[in-house]
Amino acid sequence: MVTREIDRSAAKAPGRAWMLALGAWAVPGLGHLAQRKWARGLLLGGVVWVMFFTGLALGGHLFRISGNDQGFSALLQLLPMSANFGAGLLYIFCWLTNTGFVEQAQRVTYEYGNTFLLVAGLLNYLAMLDAFDIAAGRKQ
């Protein structure tokens, strides 16, 4: 009886954990804040938001696969695009409003901006996995 209840609660956790992970991806920090992990949520979310907007301010650009890219060129865009995509709705908002996709290679801080944008997405993937682990009970 007790074992069944534990099994049932363990089976319930992944569904909620997946939803929280989706929320954590969509809005950086939300996955932790929804679990009342205030300090973690503010730190992780804050870092991703700051990195993303600093990247844009430094003249970095976001990657996407456009119609002009074909064959190997399209593949080369895929990896950085998947890194940028980690920023969740921030990336989707920029994609919808066509913000941050123009290359500004003439700016001195252009490469810094690119790196900030790429790493913001990658760090949000880490935060998302952390939120999932906490929700699934694998981590405190």
Partner: protein, 57 residues
């Protein structure tokens, strides 16, 4: 000088995330975060000096 500041900002933000998601006590995670930050800065300076002496121009 500005490049170093951007690099330090990048290192500090990344170290915060690494420290927060790491396992262990608060103190262990704080030390880990500081270690990551220091590693970023030290390695960047070493690579910077190596590139300085390479005849790339």
């Amino acid at each position: 000088m500005r490049h170093v500041l951007w690099m330090a900002l990048f290192a500090s933000l990344t170290a915060v995330v690494f420290g927060v998601v790491a396992k262990g006590s608060d103190r262990q995670r704080l030390i880990y975060g500081l270690k990551v930050f220091a590693e970023f800065i030290v390695i960047a300076f070493i690579l910077g000096w190596i590139l300085y002496f390479l005849p790339l121009h």
